[in-house]
């Protein structure tokens, strides 16, 4: 999901709103707050901080070096706070179009593969999704789970659940279609 990458500057602003931090602390706080997101790379933290500083949204409040590498501490500026509030107040547009590799693959499979292959592909995908869904369900109910963990797991679970429901529907549609093509009677009344 690239919306995660697009929101990184604002997440960093949000983390700085809770107090001044240096780059490493920001990375750690980011990964803790968004446990299901891809961990933030150091390079990206510093690149983002440089851009935020250039735009006047953060400022450097200290630079220290005790033995180790140099550590620069950053703070949110008034302008940074305003940018953060604007972002929080903006309603996220619902995805205007469907852009999923999964859908693309199924659409192409329907185009080039026979129906048995398509069904096998859907069933395999369902298995992989189910395994991940179960992992997340466990993670969410682990005694050590924090509210952040649960909220992030809920988000992922809701999306996997939707994908799985769609995979099931598609399997049914493909089965119906298959039957029609072969002129087999439908089961049931």
């Amino acid at each position: 999901m690239n919306s995660g990458l697009m929101s990184t500057p604002h997440v960093l602003l949000g983390l700085l709103a809770t107090g001044d931090k240096h780059g490493y602390e920001l990375k750690r706080a980011h990964d803790e707050r968004l446990p299901q997101a891809r961990p933030l790379a150091f390079g990206q933290v510093y690149a983002t901080l440089n851009r935020l500083q250039r735009d006047g949204l953060v400022t450097v409040t200290g630079q220290e070096r005790d033995g180790g590498p140099e550590r620069t501490t950053y703070a949110l500026t008034g302008e940074g706070r305003a940018a953060l509030d604007r972002w929080l107040n903006d309603v996220e547009p619902p995805y205007p179009y469907v852009a999923s590799t999964l859908l693309a693959k199924v659409a192409v499979a329907l185009l080039v593969a026979d129906l048995d292959r398509v069904r096998a592909c859907l069933a395999a995908q369902r298995q992989a999704h189910t395994a991940r869904l179960r992992e997340l369900t466990l993670l969410k109910h682990a005694p050590s789970a924090t509210l952040d963990d649960v909220v992030a797991a809920d988000f992922a679970i809701a999306h996997l659940d939707a994908d799985l429901t769609w995979l099931g529907t598609t399997l049914s549609r493909v089965a119906d279609w298959h039957r029609e093509v072969r002129h087999e009677p439908a089961p049931g009344p």
Partner: protein
């Protein structure tokens, strides 16, 4: 140990086939989700396993012995003592209070009045609805009714719980709370659960998932019970 087995179950309603040869095993303490699209035969399978319905062909074997060939009386005795049954809409008795509803299976099994009420209160407490003990279903929310119904389905400490879409009528969060409590209590007691659901997120709480399509097993998912021994909240 496999304690409940279905062998080649076939069942029709008049000319409508509902099961076309289903084979399924449920181990002691195992939670098996039965999933599949509406009308695929999930409820019919559950009813056959629980001895509520008789299959037209095939066998149901309970702890090594045929169940489906026993008399109506013998099967209903089994349901009172060894099985618990839970439906989508709790089906509480409207005239009885929560405590009376939950105590009912115990009274039917011959437990004394006082002991039955005490057990009922304990089970209501486990589902977080102790304060509803003297309230009738008509004055409860759907979620509260389903908590009471779940307490009632477990009050006899059955060996198997048959749950047919137990969270189907509840919102996501309420459904999750009822389900996690049910799963935790079942695991603590090594109660097997046959959990019928069409929702992937609900099936994810089971050790194993069996998918039914057009009255036959389409897929029997991985046994990941090693994973699910972790804590449930």
């Amino acid at each position: 140990m496999s304690q409940l087995q279905a062998r080649d179950l076939v069942r029709s309603y008049g000319r409508t086939p509902a099961l076309r040869g289903v084979t399924l095993d449920v181990d002691e303490g195992e939670i098996v989700a039965v999933t599949g699209p509406s009308g695929c035969g999930k409820s019919t399978l559950l009813h056959c396993l629980a001895g509520i319905l008789r299959p037209d062909a095939g066998e149901v074997i309970w702890r090594g012995e045929r169940l489906d060939t026993r008399s109506e009386a013998a099967r209903s005795r089994l349901r009172r003592t060894e099985f618990g049954v839970l439906f989508q809409f709790g089906q509480l008795v409207a005239e009885l209070t929560a405590a009376e509803n939950v105590a009912l299976p115990l009274l039917l099994a011959g437990t004394g009045r006082r002991a039955a009420r005490e057990a009922a209160l304990t089970w209501l407490e486990r589902f977080g609805v102790a304060e509803l003990a003297d309230v009738r279903p008509g004055e409860m929310s759907g979620g509260q009714q389903q908590r009471c119904a779940t307490a009632r389905s477990l009050v006899t400490e059955p060996r198997v719980l048959f749950a047919d879409e137990p969270t189907g009528a509840l919102d996501t969060l309420t459904g999750e709370q009822v389900l996690t409590t049910m799963v935790r209590l079942a695991r603590e007691r090594r109660t097997s659960v046959v959990l019928v659901t069409h929702e992937p997120r609900i099936a994810a709480y089971a050790d194993r998932e069996v998918t039914i399509r057009d009255g036959a097993v389409e897929h029997s998912g991985f046994d990941l019970s090693a994973l699910s021994t972790g804590g449930d909240r």
